[in-house]
């Protein structure tokens, strides 16, 4: 959070309505996202109570588990979940475009371009909150090692056919969501709080209903009051008017409504099992169905408000134009989806429980690179984000006041124009530091040369002004220069590249006097890290090759064996 974001939060608190944190939408949103609003049973690890799911705002599918501790009912739920989710995922698998990928040629060891295909679009999963993302991960983990009767006829308590596959997809989505800037699996609260500041703390912004209340408040109304109602208001029976977005439920709901309903269901079921004859059974079946309908209605009543809130959140986000670089990052998501599609098709085993050393290091390297890339791209896409970087001394904007053409030394001199920029910003310019600007989508680099002194009077002013009172200014030896508020300082830069091959720079490649430009101290693209060894070459410092890499093919690696199960699977 920069001071600029904090200021937005303060403005929101004072006005009672949300304030923008972005001028564009920094995440790609699919035209056909799948929304999932899950609920979980308190106290159990990954025992679902129900869900609303679907791609149609007006007709979600309701799935419930009438007795969450019943393994068969839970499997039935997961099977239904797979029935909705997998066809959605698979509907994106066949629409592909030609693409190139760089691979290491196994024979020559060289990096070569390979023709391949890339899915034209990818399925996008949206859950209400961060806890929902965590639940997707947990569901994925709980399912992917299950064995179906087809896979293993001797498996105790075999899972329904498509459940392990669903587990692998949810695991993939959960893992991808850890990559900064990715958009395959998104939490609505994260999306909204990325784009708006409210007058609450970021902790409170995890409440979707409250967050949305601040954002949706019409002019002249108090979002704060609406948020408070969303958080706390209860009906005469003590139930929250706006149920939490889950997956956890309100204890009052559990104790006062759900527990009695489940008990009625259990009684109806045991009565049915004990039915003496068909006539009695018919009557009891009806009462069981009624008990199930009651639980359905309870689950629907707790998920529907959240379902609607997620879609209203999408509405709010779609009022912002998509940021240019969001499309680039979505391409990365499409690669991720295509890659997993291929692994599934190739019959690879489920993702292991624990990453090996090389995989973990590669994942971390990817995430760090994407984090840096995201920060750079958001700033380049959005003047409000760039303002935060400027305030932090990591970028500066200003008008070009002078351009002097100079050339590099050597046999074939190259253009190295000196560009003077007047800026009121206070970048952390150490001698020789490189800065970058965006030139037709590419980064042009320049080197900081010096601060120029415009005229004597101002120069001296500057020298006096540069004491501790300027605070956040991180300027080194030049602490005194032009720190006054008015004119700002004159920064001299030497442009280094993107000017063509000749002695004379290409047209338009050198800034001209009067141009208004923004230079960043951070790079626009990220360099790749070192290439790590293959897992089978893991060095002794890291325990040597992992077991799975040395297990002869055929035998399931220990990381992939099913979880132990007991007769009473949950308590």
């Amino acid at each position: 959070m920069t001071l600029i974001d904090n200021l937005a939060r303060l403005e929101a608190a004072a006005s009672g309505r949300a304030r923008p944190r972005a001028t564009v939408r920094h995440r790609h949103l699919s035209e056909r996202p799948l929304v999932l609003v899950p609920l979980v049973t308190a106290g159990e690890a990954g025992a679902p109570l129900g869900a609303l799911i679907g791609t149609e705002r007006t007709s979600p599918r309701l799935l419930t588990v009438a007795q969450p501790r019943d393994r068969d009912l839970r499997f039935a739920f997961l099977s239904q979940l797979a029935e909705v989710l997998l066809p959605y995922v698979e509907s994106f698998a066949d629409d592909v475009e030609a693409a190139e990928r760089t691979e290491t040629d196994p024979e020559t060891g060289k990096r070569v371009k390979v023709e391949t295909e890339l899915c034209a679009d990818a399925p996008q999963l949206i859950v209400p909150s961060r806890a929902g993302v965590e639940f997707v991960r947990l569901l994925g983990r709980s399912m992917r090692f299950r064995r179906t009767a087809e896979q293993d006829p001797d498996a105790p308590y075999p899972a329904p056919p498509r459940v392990p596959l669903l587990g692998r997809w949810l695991t993939h989505y959960g893992e991808r969501s850890r990559v900064p800037g990715s958009a395959l699996l998104l939490a609505m609260t994260d999306l909204l709080s990325r784009h708006w500041a409210t007058g609450q703390s970021s902790l409170e912004e995890q409440h979707l209903g409250a967050l949305l209340a601040w954002i949706e408040a019409p002019e002249g109304t108090s979002g704060e009051a609406a948020a408070l109602r969303a958080e706390l208001a209860r009906d005469a029976d003590g139930q929250l008017l706006c149920p939490p977005a889950g997956p956890a439920t309100d204890p009052a709901f559990d104790n006062d409504l759900l527990a009695p309903a489940i008990e009625r269901h259990d009684r109806a079921r045991s009565a049915l099992a004990a039915a003496a004859d068909g006539v009695e059974a018919d009557a009891l079946l009806a009462s069981l169905a009624a008990a199930e309908r009651e639980i359905d209605a309870l689950v629907a009543s707790r998920t529907r408000p959240t379902w609607d809130a997620v879609w209203r959140g999408l509405d709010a986000l779609c009022t912002l134009p998509e940021a240019p670089h969001a499309v680039d990052r979505w391409r990365g998501d499409r690669w991720s989806f295509t890659g997993h599609r291929d692994r599934v098709a190739a019959g690879e085993p489920p993702q292991p429980r624990v990453d090996d050393a090389v995989t973990a290091a590669n994942k971390l390297a990817t995430r760090e690179r994407e984090q840096a890339r995201l920060e750079a791209q958001e700033a380049l896409d959005d003047p409000l984000v760039m303002a935060g970087r400027r305030l932090a001394g990591e970028a500066f904007a200003g008008v070009v006041t002078d351009v002097v053409m100079t050339y590099s030394e050597g046999r074939s001199p190259r253009p190295r124009p000196l560009v003077t920029v007047r800026t009121a910003d206070r970048p952390h310019l150490d001698p020789g530091v490189k800065v970058y600007r965006s030139l037709e989508g590419k980064a042009q680099s320049a080197q900081f040369v010096t601060y120029d002194v415009e005229d004597e009077g101002e120069g001296e002013d500057g020298r006096d002004g540069g004491d501790g009172g300027d605070g956040g200014d991180g300027r080194d030896g030049a602490a005194g220069r032009g720190a006054g508020d008015g004119g700002g300082s004159l920064v001299v830069l030497r442009v280094l590249d993107k000017m063509g091959r000749g002695k004379e720079p290409d047209a338009g490649s050198v800034p001209e006097a009067g141009d208004r430009l923004c230079w960043t101290l951070f790079e626009h693209e990220q360099r790749g890290g070192p290439k790590l060894p293959d897992p089978e070459d893991t060095p002794w410092t890291h325990g040597g090759p992992p077991q799975s890499a040395t297990t002869p093919s055929g035998a399931p690696a220990p990381g992939e064996s099913p979880d132990p199960v007991t007769a009473e699977d949950v308590l």
């Binding site: 090389v358 290091a361 760090e368 004491d467 501790g468 605070g471 290439k531 060894p533 070459d537 040597g544």
Partner: protein, 456 residues
């Protein structure tokens, strides 16, 4: 990991000979490195215990034994510094400096060294006795014959994944570092690997020892930098299970000023620090932004007075007192903007040659007197960053004579309001000490050397 036996009681018998102790430790380390059977040797080195000297000596002895080696350091400045030290000790030694292909990739001073070859390609440096580079650059080196030996310097500041990228380049290695300084960190989510032996975001040494618990572990037991007044505090607060001692006694060092005190807060705290080794200049309690103008000015005034009062430092290095000049003083801060503000305030007082930097950048450096803007001074909250043990440890262990801390009153209440609430990840080796606890311990000691700064 085993913990060494408890240290001798603080009233050590007069027979304690720091030189001999340190010599024994070094001999054992070199023996294990040159003649041991293990693939790795780990050396913990507290502040100023002679880590660089050890690295240079180990490199020269390996080279002299006909065993070429690669040296891995973490920053270009560290690499250049090592190359300069090697050349200073042994100008004939053929040394390679592997560097990046960026502009100005190495210190120009290396150009003056005839036996140092520089290149961006490892192949150009093949056959040299010693080749030195950063971990980042080594990570890109491929298709070379592995070295028989390596020295990994600042190994506690190296991340596990960086070691993974370079470990294939050597058969065996000496790992040297200071466990008390700042830990490496990741800028992206790495929690899911916490507790794994090879957690990529952990330190290289943590991973190495988790997989190779029987490697010999040594410790340099004597700090030659820290004075007798500082070693016990730093050892107790930051190295509770691996204590060390000062190589000098209270009588070996002194700091005197020709100009008497003018009675002001800065002068009184200077005198307190000259006598006791520590000084706390305390400003009235107040919540302030990071670049608290009063605290910044107070830091600058202390530095100005240190220079103006004709300080002279006597130490075991020379019989004659050495003048306390600007290059022997440093200012340490937690944040870059604080450093910049202090530089500005110093410039306004006409001081330009005093080093002012953040803890990160002061790691490994040494001065006669340091002036520290306390990381928690004036803060309304105490975050993990500000409580990090390594940060305070670096700031409190750069000096040979005295350390003066400038701080707003109220740090102890602040600590009490932000009790240690760290999450605990199963399987992660606990790192000692706790930042909250260490901050309390240091502050309890500093309070004994408190001088209030009265508003003018």
């Amino acid at each position: 990991m085993t913990t060494p036996a408890p240290p001798p009681p603080s009233s050590a018998p007069p027979s304690f000979d720091p030189g001999a102790e340190a010599g024994r430790a070094t001999d054992a380390i070199l023996h294990d490195t040159l003649h041991g059977t293990h693939r790795g040797v780990v050396v913990d080195s507290p502040p100023g215990a002679g880590k660089s000297t050890l690295v240079v000596r180990a490199a020269r002895e390996l080279a002299a034994a006909g065993r070429p080696l690669m040296v891995v350091a973490q920053t270009n400045a560290q690499v250049d510094d090592l190359v300069l030290r090697l050349a200073e000790k042994d100008p004939e030694l053929p040394v390679g400096r592997l560097h990046s292909s960026d502009a100005d990739p190495y210190d120009k001073a290396l150009d003056a060294l005839p036996n140092v070859r520089k290149s961006a390609k490892a192949a150009d440096l093949a056959g040299l006795d010693v080749v030195v580079s950063t971990a980042a650059k080594w990570g890109h080196v491929k298709d070379v014959e592995p070295w028989g030996h390596a020295i990994v310097d600042e190994a506690y500041q190296m991340r596990s994944d960086a070691l993974l990228a370079v470990a294939g380049l050597f058969e065996r290695a000496l790992f040297v570092g200071d466990p008390g300084q700042l830990d490496p960190f990741a800028i992206a989510e790495a929690d899911q690997w916490a507790g794994l032996a090879y957690d990529p975001s952990a330190s290289a040494v943590t991973t190495l020892l988790a997989h190779n618990p029987t490697l010999p572990q040594h410790r340099l037991p004597v700090s030659w930098r820290l004075p007798a007044s500082a070693a016990p505090l730093v050892s107790d607060a930051f190295y509770p299970y691996t204590p060390f001692r000062s190589g000098t006694g209270h009588e070996d060092r002194s700091l005197r000023f020709a100009v008497p005190s003018d009675g002001s807060g800065p002068d009184r705290v200077i005198d307190e620090a000259a006598v006791s080794g520590w000084g706390l200049l305390e400003l009235p309690a107040r919540h302030t932004p990071r670049t608290d103008p009063e605290a910044v000015r107070a830091v600058a005034h202390v530095v100005r007075r240190l220079l103006d009062r004709g300080g002279a430092a006597t130490s075991e290095r020379s019989p004659e007192p050495a003048p306390l000049t600007a290059d022997r003083i440093a200012v340490g801060t937690a944040h870059r903007d604080q450093a910049a503000a202090v530089r500005g305030a110093l410039a306004a007082l006409g001081v330009v040659d005093v080093t002012v930097d953040t803890a990160n950048r002061l790691q490994g450096r040494e001065y006669d007197v340091t002036v520290v803007l306390h990381p928690l001074s004036g803060r309304p909250d105490a975050t993990a960053f500000h409580l990090e043990t390594g940060r305070l440890c670096v700031l409190a262990s750069r000096h040979r004579h005295a350390c003066i801390v400038v701080c707003r009153a109220g740090v102890e209440s602040l600590l009490d309001d932000h009790p240690s609430m760290d999450p605990v990840r199963l399987g992660v080796t606990v790192k000692f000490p706790d930042g909250w606890e260490a901050n309390h311990a240091v502050f309890a000691r500093l309070r004994e050397h408190r001088v209030p700064l009265v508003a003018p």
